[in-house]
């Protein structure tokens, strides 16, 4: 089943649950299993949190638009914002050492996105802003 949906919400953390529901409904309608839906929900939640924190540098600074395309096999998510250009290379990788004193959990969201999705691609356009494209391939 081919599913194409989009959603625009204000850039506020309270809308993360709305975004999660949007992903869940799209995934169920496309016939994806619960594990796949959860992984995409996690990656999208981290991405949208990063948009608010880093691209907009706070809540109520702009909207977040998500587009979702499921072709029955692969799931393509695109997230758009009009915040500051986002450079993923500027985010340090988390230091996930077993020693509690040395652990650094900054960058964990971006790390999750790469672990949970098969493709993660950032781009910026002067007119349209940031675009994050993520793909989760079905089995």
């Amino acid at each position: 089943m081919d599913i194409k949906r989009s959603l625009t919400v204000p850039g506020r953390f309270e809308y993360l649950a709305t975004i999660a529901d949007f992903i869940a409904v799209a995934g169920r309608d496309a016939g994806f299993d619960q594990d796949m839906i959860f992984h995409v929900q996690m990656a999208v939640d981290e991405a949208c949190s990063n948009v608010i924190e880093h691209a907009y540098q706070g809540q109520d600074k702009g909207d977040i638009t998500l587009s979702c395309h499921c072709d029955g096999k692969d799931w393509v998510i695109a997230i758009f914002d009009t915040g500051r250009p986002f450079d993923p290379a500027s985010i340090p990788a988390p230091n996930l050492e077993p020693c509690l004193e040395d652990i650094k959990t900054g960058g964990l969201g971006l790390y999750f996105m790469h672990q949970l999705m098969d493709e993660v691609e950032f781009s910026f356009d002067e007119e349209t802003g940031n675009k994050l494209r993520m793909v989760k391939r079905g089995v």
């Binding site: 953390f13 309270e14 993360l16 649950a17 999660a20 959860f38 929900q41 996690m42 939640d45 981290e46 949190s49 608010i52 924190e53 988390p94 996930l96 077993p98 509690l100 004193e101 652990i103 959990t105 964990l108 969201g109 790390y111 999750f112 672990q115 949970l116």
Partner: protein, 110 residues
């Protein structure tokens, strides 16, 4: 998200349910902070009812673990939901936390 606290003789149990994300993680962290700064350095974090936990929630757990340890106590996890266990493993945090199957076992560890 709902969060509640129960005091026991040797520890406090903080029970969390629902979503722990960037919207709710501050409340989650504040609750843990108030328990720890209130003098209880031994904490059981019951996570059976948590359906979703993002990196924001994990950061709150790590900072609370550090706070307990610096006060001479310990924070342990009881009955993590499957999804919480999955994200803890993904983040490489399972070796940092003692995890118990249920609250009784976790409370009994103190």
């Amino acid at each position: 998200m709902e969060v509640g606290t129960t005091s026991h003789k040797r520890c406090s149990v903080v029970t969390v349910s629902g979503r722990v994300d960037s919207n709710t993680a501050p409340t989650f962290e504040e609750t843990l902070k108030s328990v720890i700064e209130g003098g209880q350095r031994n904490v059981v974090l019951e996570l059976d009812g948590v359906e979703f936990m993002s990196s924001a929630g994990l950061r709150a757990m790590v900072s609370s673990l550090k706070a307990c340890k610096s006060g001479g106590g310990k924070l342990v996890v009881a009955a993590p939901s499957n999804r919480v266990a999955e994200v803890m493993q993904l983040a490489g945090l399972t070796s940092l936390f003692s995890v118990y199957d249920d609250v009784t076992a976790a409370v009994g560890s103190f």
